[in-house]
Symmetry: C2
Subunit: 322 residues, 2 copies
Amino acid sequence: MTRLAIALGGNALIRRGEPGSTEVQRRNLVAAARGLVTLVEGSRAEIVVTHGNGPQVGFRAIGAEMAASVVPAPPLDVLGAETQGQIGYLLANALDAAFLERGKHRDIAVVVTRTVVAQDDPAFQNPTKPVGPMYDEETAREHARTRGWNIAQDANGWRRVVPSPRPIRIVEARAIRTLVESGVLVVASGGGGVPVIECPEGHFEGSEAVIDKDLAAVVLARSVDADGLLLLSDVDAVYRRWGTPRQEAILRLSVEEALEGLALGAWPAGSMAPKVRACAEFIQGGGRFAAIGAMENAVAIVKGSSGTWFGGESVGLPRRAA
Amino acid sequence: MTRLAIALGGNALIRRGEPGSTEVQRRNLVAAARGLVTLVEGSRAEIVVTHGNGPQVGFRAIGAEMAASVVPAPPLDVLGAETQGQIGYLLANALDAAFLERGKHRDIAVVVTRTVVAQDDPAFQNPTKPVGPMYDEETAREHARTRGWNIAQDANGWRRVVPSPRPIRIVEARAIRTLVESGVLVVASGGGGVPVIECPEGHFEGSEAVIDKDLAAVVLARSVDADGLLLLSDVDAVYRRWGTPRQEAILRLSVEEALEGLALGAWPAGSMAPKVRACAEFIQGGGRFAAIGAMENAVAIVKGSSGTWFGGESVGLPRRAA
């Protein structure tokens, strides 16, 4: 049976500009879950699902700062774990309902996941990922002084920036694999997993960092021996000449073309570049195929008629009887 | 092999009066995790662990209200799911470290758990569990009017009160059991699990309620066919004549004595009574033994030399070689 690892963009669950309310997430998750269920039912693929948490952990960090005078703000690793509970729970409810609409049932389990990163990852020397509230310069500098934060200015103001180290392995890999092999639809590595450093003594310590969820999805896919990796978001394909009048969706990318484009800076560093890198790395590591596309096109992507493909043939999702 | 379901009190992770900081939880979890690992290593028992979330969800609800002008406050089911991520993650790190101190390793997995409750549970007509911030009467009445909350006054002020329906079954039961049987130490049903109602169409909807974690622990114990149920908190035993000069720890309670005491109101409704009820129900449902005691006495409780026992003999934890 084909096994797919599927990553859902956090921005597809709370879209840009939407408020961080539970109602918004519930509504967006209905569509996402229906897409996933159509994929599972049509392809008979086993799937393991992961998801981003960018907007969610951002809202959580803003809320934690606002309440900090009464409830101490948790560190970023703990906020990440909280969003895994939050999004995973809502996604599980949405998946149950979507299977039921088709008269089906699948066991679903959300596993709170820790992702190991290296203490000597160069990202720790160069924090670049903005998280949490926007500050004026004075407040930002005060947080830098009193809390040891790294801060940086962008177009709209000052924010905390944290490292984004490379994911190495998943602490819960064996448990996740056991569940997948027994037929459970697993949701794992939410937000890329909570980043933990393996200490010289062998135990894990949470790290105030964020992990790119698409690179983490590669590690998850390998942990369960997935054939394919699907990175689904609110963007329908990888483009050449993106943002120019001559922009054009790319239907198929070889690993060589992908690596060349990455070296040339062909795609934005914060969004499409890590997705392209993730797909290339998955294929290089022995994965059969990978694809990037829009969440609502999930079925067409697996058929090979939407999104950008890396590696082998499409799964050849059988057409449903009319 | 003996299989134990162990419930840790949320108040043992953040003690009364302690701030709701991550540092406090980390510190308290070191002791809890060492106790659990001593138990596992000494008894060779398989364990599945659950935990309360009273203080944690309380702090989370207070923080969510303080930030509500910018980040919409999530409903109580979502807050419960968040605390499962938070506490489960910190507990997993603490357990890893405690095993490592003894040169051991165990796979640990935290499963975000949903607990089914009945839509017609009488608790929904009579909400009694206070959650979240304390209000003055005027503000409380406004929340009641505008948000449909039930409110109640206690010694210190007005608070929202929510139902505490009986747990019926765990949605993730098969996944949890699969993990336990493959040797994974599972943390599940945190905070009693997120309460969900099974709708007539068969899907689940979150419920703004809280589930007693000790009664939920009985459901968890049954789901994994546990031999024993240990309810560990900051209280060292069940007492007779509690709070009087003649108070006395009870070493052993039969199911009949427990039910009689419950009928007579011998124990406080919010704390010891549900624990005694949980143990009695576990034995009535075919469980071999149950016990109530202090977290730091976990090993002595299993030996039968601390806490209050229900049902059969102690596990007879072998003494460690000197």
